[in-house]
């Protein structure tokens, strides 16, 4: 049925129009494409518009403004902490420069390609069967 890829083939080649004769349903391959199109298209799949009552509009707006207040507070606290952390990095480096220039040189040296290890994973909703991997055999050849 398939040549290079699953190609819809019409059995009769060209559809010819004959007066009085109903054009029958398309062949399976074309039907398949039509079905794929029906998955993509909005026709008959859209829900009804919300059309909320006045009370519910007010309720929804209240919820959204409370959510905005909540997230804004959270974001501000996060940014504040980051600012403090940045300040303390600058502080530490200035101090180190004063105290020991040799160590400062080493501390400000950057690798050309900074990469995070692949073992750092995203947290999941539930823990894995073994929450922690203990069998690490030791540094074979640690990174510099």
């Amino acid at each position: 049925m398939f040549k290079s890829f699953a190609k819809p083939q019409s059995s009769s080649g060209v559809l010819t129009f004959i007066r009085g004769k109903r054009i029958s349903a398309t062949n399976p391959a074309t039907e398949r494409i039509v079905q794929q199109l029906s998955v993509l298209a909005a026709g008959r799949k859209q829900p009804k518009l919300l059309n909320l009552s006045n009370e519910d509009i007010v309720k929804h707006r209240t919820i959204m403004s409370a959510w905005k207040l909540f997230t804004r507070k959270k974001k501000r606290a996060e940014q504040e902490q980051l600012n403090q952390q940045y300040e303390s990095i600058c502080n530490a480096m200035n101090d180190l420069k004063e105290t020991s220039p040799a160590l400062f040189e080493l501390a400000s040296h950057k690798e050309k390609r900074l990469r995070f290890p692949l073992e750092m994973r995203f947290p999941t909703e539930y823990p894995p069967n073994r929450p922690w991997v203990y069998n690490f055999t030791g540094p074979v050849k640690k990174r510099k």
């Binding site: 009370e55 519910d56 007010v58 309720k59 929804h60 919820i63 409370a66 207040l69």
Partner: protein, 378 residues
């Protein structure tokens, strides 16, 4: 299933009515009762006290067929608590400022403190669902304009549509700069002619509308809505000028004064100049009596430009010459600050002669096109 949700919501969330544990948004001992949602049915639905569907829908069958989104009631209850907590903090700040205000004598700092209190009050109330309901779905005229939060809501609404329409028409019809060079709008100016029984002309006039002379034959009701706080009363002047009066010797047009009011005391609530007010105190306010525009036959369309000014000082009530009225000099001399304007247009129509007779203006001229004596260009 939905009913169950609503019922559960109502169990979780019921605003207490006892005075002991009253939170700020349900406590009306200090706050104005106009911040309350007065409709009982809507209020009950909002706070989950009833299960008969939204009270804003009048029809019973529509109400029964309506489905609220799932989980909205219990989420709303939590959101309400969060916002109320914030409002409470703001009200505490207001209290501190009010104590400070009581000790302040300096006028400048009193004004500053009052402004600060107003902004805090707006922030504390603008997210209150009851206030939100009132300002977005109730009749704007019924809102309590002493409350800064309602004034803020009205101002936002005005800026979104009415202000834009007014400014567009003023610019398009060359009211600015033909009468005054520019306008920094501060308040919403609305006019209507109350004497009209015909529904076509009895509504608030849209700026730039063409009106028949009979519809404007009596002085208009002018509504001047200030959005800033007015302590005591402000004095306002109103000028109605027509910059399209034919001036034949100059082959041009001159400005005529048609109506002038001055020293009208208004504030946020008492904001209308209507015939009833003028009947009792009209003489104190009137510089020039109302005289409608009566365009003569075959003159171009005439603009009736209504300007509203805030006064810096009370004006002397003395007659002003109507013809060749120089509005720019007048405004400058009297120290008037333009805060709003309105415009409508008139042309000659069949009611002009009747109105002329009413005001004793004599018969109007009829202009004809006269062929020039110069030969036509070749």
């Amino acid at each position: 299933m939905l009913r169950r949700v609503v019922a559960r919501g109502s169990k979780e969330f019921r605003r207490s009515n006892s005075t002991s544990s009253q939170k700020v948004w349900s406590n009306f001992s200090k706050r104005s009762p106009s911040l309350k949602l007065s409709n009982e049915a809507i209020n009950n639905n909002l706070f989950g006290k009833s299960t008969d569907g939204p009270g804003s829908m009048i029809s019973h069958s529509r109400r029964a067929a309506y489905h609220s989104p799932n989980e909205i009631d219990s989420t709303f209850a939590m959101a309400y608590e969060i916002l109320e907590q914030k409002a409470e903090d703001l009200y505490n700040q207001v209290e501190k400022l009010e104590q400070q205000l009581a000790q302040t004598k300096d006028e400048e700092s009193i004004k500053q403190l009052k402004d600060q209190i107003d902004t805090l009050l707006i922030r504390a109330e603008i997210q209150n669902p009851e206030v939100m309901y009132n300002s977005s779905f109730n009749d704007p005229d019924s809102l309590d304009k002493t409350q800064p939060v309602y004034r803020k809501a009205l101002e936002q609404k005005w800026k979104k549509y009415d202000l834009m329409v007014t400014m567009q028409r003023l610019e398009q019809l060359h009211v600015i700069p033909d009468t005054l060079p520019t306008l920094e709008p501060k308040c919403d100016v609305k006019i209507r002619f109350g004497h009209n029984s015909d529904s076509e002309f009895s509504h608030w006039i849209v700026p730039g509308e063409m009106l028949p002379t009979i519809a404007v034959s009596q002085p208009p009701t002018i509504k001047i809505q200030e959005f800033e706080r007015v302590d005591g009363k402000n004095l306002y002047s109103v000028l109605l000028v027509n910059p399209d009066t034919p001036d034949l010797p100059a082959n041009s047009f001159s400005t005529t004064l048609h109506y002038a009011l001055a020293n009208v005391p208004l504030d946020n609530v008492d904001n209308t100049i209507d015939p009833s007010k003028l009947l009792t105190k009209g003489e104190e306010y009137t510089l020039a009596d109302f005289e409608p525009l009566v365009p003569e036959k075959n003159t171009p369309t005439q603009r009736a430009c209504l300007w509203v000014f805030r006064q810096t000082k009370p004006l002397d009530i003395k007659p002003v010459a109507r013809k060749h009225f120089d509005i720019r000099t007048f405004v400058q001399e009297q120290g008037l600050i333009p805060v709003g304007a309105h415009v409508w247009r008139q042309g000659f129509d069949r009611s002009v002669n009747q109105v002329r007779e009413m005001y004793g203006l004599g018969k109007g001229r009829v202009f004809h096109r006269v062929r020039g004596i110069e030969p036509l260009p070749q």
